[in-house]
């Protein structure tokens, strides 16, 4: 019983939130890593692409809600998701046409593209705030919980509750589906193969007749889809606020780099590594240890390694450690 209580408390505050957060980071990092692998630069505008896609989804969700369309127990936002993806895709394609293509034609160095992407980031940043405002927005509806903490307690008779929110379940399920689709697309379809070929060796790909603009366009559309899905899932789970998407950039890049930039599998692993580190390092273990340890050894302090204020510092520290000791990341990404 003691052990079960400890496990439930740990799951409630560490395992479940970290898996959901890790899925969101993984989806974000996949977008970053695809851009890096195929277009060969670090896209700092990714966080704000997520915010833009989520914003379009929210606006369409509100429209649906006003018309009385909903998905019953599921959030209406899922229905609006395709519109958000389309909106974000149009935005990134337009940005590519107006900004990135110019620098690509000049064969600009990656570092210049990085700076350019920062400029794009600020513009998108402003655009989102201009349309929906800087405040937090609520757009989640439907059933809030699959299991609420109170129901769990009465069901099991344990003294600790385990809450499992609908948004967390949707996040995890969607992430699995999206990742499976992405790998199927990259490995099995002609377009996916041409994208990988373009990523591996640009000149060789061009020689074998791959149309570079087509590859670039497909990449942007996929990235827009990934970013919007990640943004909407994050918003459903934790609430939408433009500034937090900007802040997400650090853990997302940390995930992509830890996993190995340019390696999709690495991005997913990196997302979970970062999420679990952030949550486990800042969790106060007092309650769990009280259940596990004999009374004489029970801690009187919180047993918290770092205050929750330092959450972002954790991803930053991991990023630096990985860059120092294994610059290619866990899964051997590109180092260029």
């Amino acid at each position: 019983m003691e052990f079960l209580n400890a496990f439930v408390a740990f799951s409630n505050f560490v395992i479940v939130p970290a898996i959901a957060y890790g899925s969101q980071l993984a989806l974000g990092a996949l977008g970053v890593t695809l851009i890096y692998g195929i277009l060969r630069f670090s896209n700092f505008a990714h966080g704000d692409t997520m915010a833009f896609g989520a914003m379009v989804t929210i606006l369409v969700t509100w429209w649906f809600q006003s018309m009385g369309i909903n998905l019953g127990p599921m959030p209406t936002a899922l229905l609006a998701l395709p519109f958000g993806i389309a909106g974000a895709a149009l935005l990134v394609l337009a940005t590519d046409r107006m900004v990135y293509r110019f620098y690509r034609a000049q064969k600009a160095a990656p570092v210049i593209l990085v700076i350019v992407s920062m400029g794009v980031m600020f513009v998108m940043n402003g655009l989102v705030r201009f349309i929906i405002g800087p405040d937090g927005q609520q757009f989640a509806d439907g059933e809030r919980f699959i299991i609420s903490a109170r129901n769990f307690k009465t069901m099991t008779g344990l003294s600790e509750g385990l809450a499992f929110r609908t948004s967390q379940a949707i996040t995890i399920v969607t992430a699995v589906i999206v990742v499976a689709l992405l790998f199927w697309f990259l490995n099995k379809t002609r377009t996916g193969k041409s994208m990988r070929a373009f990523s591996d060796n640009e000149d060789l790909a061009l020689l074998s007749g791959i149309n570079p603009e087509r590859v670039v366009a497909y990449t942007w559309i996929i990235v827009a889809a990934l970013a919007t899905i990640a943004g909407v899932l994050y918003g459903l789970d934790k609430g939408f606020k433009p500034f937090t998407y900007f802040q997400l950039l650090l853990p997302i890049f940390a995930s992509a780099i830890v996993g190995g930039l340019g390696n999709p599998l690495g991005a997913i692993a990196g997302g979970f590594v970062i999420a679990f580190s952030e949550v486990t390092v800042t969790y106060a273990y007092k309650k769990v240890l009280i259940y596990l340890l004999p009374e004489s050894l029970e801690p009187s302090t919180l047993v918290q390694l770092l205050s929750t204020d330092y959450k972002f510092a954790v991803s930053f520290a991991i990023l630096i450690i990985v860059l120092l000791f294994k610059p290619t990341g866990l899964f051997k990404g590109n180092t260029a």
Partner: protein, 395 residues
């Protein structure tokens, strides 16, 4: 020639004296722009109302009228506030300063302008405990209570309800930290236990990590010294979601109509307190506000009315509008002994003072100045019932 010059100078001085006897200016230095701009309109209207009431009754000091001069602090803009305060004193020649509003600018104006110029300040809304201990040369008063007082009131409420062990989280700024420290000190002194005293940042999307730490520390109830549309709301939602806490203590920053709406029925049964008084003074203020197109019981509006009234009474009692002369009278007119004076009875109060009597100004906010000249503070104890903030009693 020399005589002529002296005569001219003398006339000029007399003329100046005559002018000041006609009109006594009070500065209304509030944040008409900035984070509390939605409150300052009502505050200034309440102050103007007190000025009008005094003037209609025939003014003070044998027929001088009062005039309010507005200037902006921006609530958080120290530079703007101090330069406007300088202007009020140097260019407008004010005799008393109602303001500032937010604690930070109030401290800055006090240090940089009021003390060097010997100007008396009565702030209607600065609540930081730090202003209680600041070196003010006896020039600073406030009709708003210190947050330290709120800490004591919150302790009383918890003790009355038999709660001995709480987890405490506060928004990471002067207000949150000041209130949390004040509360922790008085709660522990009363024998309570604070299992954790942790800050939270406003404006984050996700508070599950903070709540994880709070839940691990445990406690019967969670005290959320934050803002109702910011991190405070996030903490409460995350606590309810994860089943960490299901009852909350809500200090002033968390009291508002939007919180029960945003959180939903799960908030029912949570309780807290906010500065505010009931009874005759508050009722009269509400009527006055309704008659004059502002909200008479909006936060700090009664306090603003009272600040003007205190200036007028102190000047009348001292028989002078000079800050150095009347400053000693402020505590006298505000506190017992004497006849109790409510809003709308300012003429009566002035009359008593003119006849050498004593008054105990109660006003719209139940003024009782304690310690270094700050309001003792009346609080409304609030309980959330059926999705509404209900005042259950006054403390």
């Amino acid at each position: 020639m020399k005589k002529l010059l002296m005569a001219t100078a003398a006339t000029a001085i007399m003329a100046a004296n005559a002018a000041s006897a006609d009109e006594i200016k009070l500065g209304l230095l509030l944040g008409y722009t900035g984070p509390i701009e939605s409150l300052t309109g009502h505050m200034a209207s309440a102050a103007d109302l007190a000025i009008a009431e005094i003037n209609e009754s025939g003014g003070i000091l044998g027929g001088s009228t009062l005039a309010g001069v507005r200037a902006d602090t921006g609530c958080i803009d120290n530079g703007l506030a101090t330069s406007n305060a300088e202007r009020l004193i140097a260019a407008e020649g004010i005799k008393g300063l109602v303001g500032g509003d937010c604690s930070g600018v109030t401290g800055a104006v006090l240090q940089n302008v009021a003390i060097p110029n010997g100007m008396v300040m009565i702030s209607p809304s600065a609540t930081s405990p730090a202003l209680s201990t600041v070196e003010d040369q006896g020039l600073f008063f406030r009709t708003a209570p210190s947050d330290a007082r709120e800490g004591q009131v919150m302790t009383e409420i918890l003790m009355d309800r038999g709660v001995k062990s709480v987890a405490l989280t506060y928004t990471n700024n002067d207000y949150g930290k000041g209130l949390a420290d004040a509360f922790a000190e008085s709660f522990v002194a009363e024998g309570g236990e604070i299992t954790i005293n942790a800050a939270h940042e406003d404006g984050k999307a996700d508070y599950s990590a903070e709540v994880g730490a709070l839940a691990s520390a445990g406690g019967d109830i969670l005290v959320v010294a934050g803002y109702l549309d910011q991190g405070g709301l996030g903490i409460i939602n995350a606590s309810l979601d994860s089943g960490a806490f299901d009852q909350f203590v809500l200090p002033g920053g968390m009291i508002g109509d939007s919180l029960p709406v945003n959180v939903g029925p799960a908030l029912n049964g949570s309780y807290g307190q906010i500065a505010g008084s009931g009874g005759r003074g508050a009722e009269t203020m509400a009527e006055f506000g309704a008659a004059n197109g502002f909200e008479g019981t909006s936060p700090y509006a009664p306090e603003s009315y009272d600040a003007v009234a205190l200036f007028a009474f102190a000047m009348e009692a001292a028989g002078s509008a000079e800050p150095g002369d009347y400053v000693g009278k402020i505590l006298e007119v505000a506190n017992a002994p004497g006849e109790e004076i409510y809003p709308g009875e300012l003429a009566k109060g002035l009359e008593i003072l003119r006849n050498g009597g004593d008054i105990d100004y109660v006003g719209g906010s139940a003024v009782e100045l304690i310690g270094p000249g700050e309001s003792a503070g009346t609080y409304r104890e609030i309980e959330v019932q059926d999705g509404k903030n209900v005042t259950v009693r006054f403390r």
